[in-house]
């Protein structure tokens, strides 16, 4: 893997901590972290891919030892610090502040439902200059690169042969947009890999993994 967030196939983890009828939150602080991430001011040019990469850039030990909402908390801190808006010492100085929670205003809840139920799609018109797309049924092989920035090609699926099973159209390419390079939209596909191709002879029989991958992740396979 490139970074420790790239967890697919990593060994040594135990039982999945499933609980029946699990609540959305395990403490009020988790609610605040979710809400802050959704409504706090974001830097100019911020996007979902930069948000993911902020969490990925947490220290590896911090990342792996933290819960989801702890990562979201630190990702929000990182983005706000990098924007020059706050400093770590200012947070420390506010430790002990009382909870700002208040009963929500029903009209504002309605507005939020409306706001977050608005579709902000990631597909883009097919522009000239894009390579000819692969077709459903084409055999492809993923790149072996181990790039230093944000990427959506997980390490466990690098350098593996699979089959295009869906075309999703042209989408924003996170490997560029997450690294500040603009949207760089290109063809997006669902590509299916036999488990044995990914995990070798010890893979579970009759299993496959399908990943959504962009054109630059792929090369034609013979």
């Amino acid at each position: 893997m490139t970074r420790v967030h790239d967890l697919g196939g990593v060994q040594g983890f135990g039982r999945v901590p499933w609980e029946p009828d699990e609540p959305n939150f395990h403490g009020d602080w988790e609610k605040r972290v979710l809400g802050m991430n959704l409504v706090a001011k974001a830097p100019e040019g911020w996007n979902i891919d930069k948000g993911r990469h902020a969490r990925e850039r947490l220290h590896p030990v911090t990342y792996l030892a933290s819960s989801y909402f702890e990562r979201w908390l630190e990702g929000l801190v990182l983005r706000s610090v990098e924007a020059g808006w706050i400093e770590e010492a200012e947070i420390a100085a506010k430790m002990g502040a009382p909870s700002p929670e208040a009963p929500p205003d029903p009209a504002r809840v309605d507005a939020m439902v409306e706001r977050f139920s608005t579709r902000v799609p990631y597909d883009r018109p097919e522009t000239e200059g894009l390579p000819a797309p692969y077709a459903v049924g084409d055999r492809v092989r993923t790149r072996m690169d181990d790039p230093t920035g944000h990427t959506r090609l997980p390490a466990y699926a690098r350098g593996r042969g699979g089959e295009v099973v869906m075309r999703h159209g042209v989408h924003v390419f996170p490997d560029v947009s997450g690294n500040g390079g603009g949207e760089a939209p290109t063809h997006l596909y669902a590509v299916r890999f036999d488990a044995a191709e990914l995990f070798g002879a010890e893979a579970e029989p009759g299993a496959s993994v399908t990943l959504d991958l962009w054109h630059p992740h792929l090369e034609p396979a013979s």
Binding site: D6, G9, M36, P100, D212
Partner: protein, 204 residues
């Protein structure tokens, strides 16, 4: 042994840090705490797996709807009023005899919020993200789901903004049921592929 469960040992420190950050952001005009309250309330009470259950129930009950769901899931789901953040591009994947689908996001924790609400902690766990792609059958066994020998397992790793909704198999003994009654059988886990739809009460 050391405690390696994430997030439970620093709770009070984390709580204090969260409050400090919120206070700081609010003072700087970067955040409206009342908006935090409102968006949390929205996801706690209005946006959740009951939405997805309606989609599944309609797909079971209405062949025309199922056809539209297969053709363009985003539009078919929007027919029921569900869309928005983390559900911009939907694809429905159907379980069938001999085929089971399981959804994961190994790189973060992508999840179809408009139809399922917020993801449960187990879905976001290191354990699930690491193991679901490599040993899906063992993971399902952890959940108490044992598939028929020879069942094909299709794991979907949500690496893009496409969100996958599993359509579980319709339980036997539900012929002629209303969509509302059917929806009560559709659990959140069954729409991730981590469970099956509930059998009707009294069924074997």
């Amino acid at each position: 042994m050391h405690d390696h469960g994430p997030g439970h040992s620093h709770l009070s420190e984390t709580e204090a840090r969260v409050r400090a950050l919120e206070t700081l952001l609010a003072e700087k005009g970067l955040l409206d705490p009342a908006a935090v309250d409102a968006v949390v309330e929205a996801y706690e009470t209005r946006i959740g797996p009951r939405n997805g259950a309606q989609v599944v129930a309609k797909a079971w009950a209405d062949p025309d709807y199922l056809a539209r769901l297969r053709e363009d899931a985003t539009s078919a789901i929007l027919e029921l009023g569900f869309t928005g953040r983390q559900g911009e591009h939907m694809v429905a994947v159907e379980n069938a005899p001999g085929r089971h689908n399981l959804v994961v996001c190994t790189l973060c924790s992508c999840y179809p919020w408009p139809v399922l609400g917020l993801p449960p902690a187990w879905y976001k766990s290191n354990e699930y993200r690491a193991r679901a792609v490599r040993e899906p059958r063992k993971v399902l066994a952890d959940f108490g789901v044992t598939l028929t020998e020879g069942t094909e397992i299709r794991v979907w790793d949500s690496t893009a903004e496409i969100r996958y909704l599993v359509i579980p198999e319709r339980p036997a003994g539900t012929e002629g049921w209303s969509e509302a009654a059917l929806a009560d059988l559709v659990t959140r886990d069954s729409m991730i592929g981590a469970g099956l739809a509930r059998a009707p009460e009294g069924a074997a």
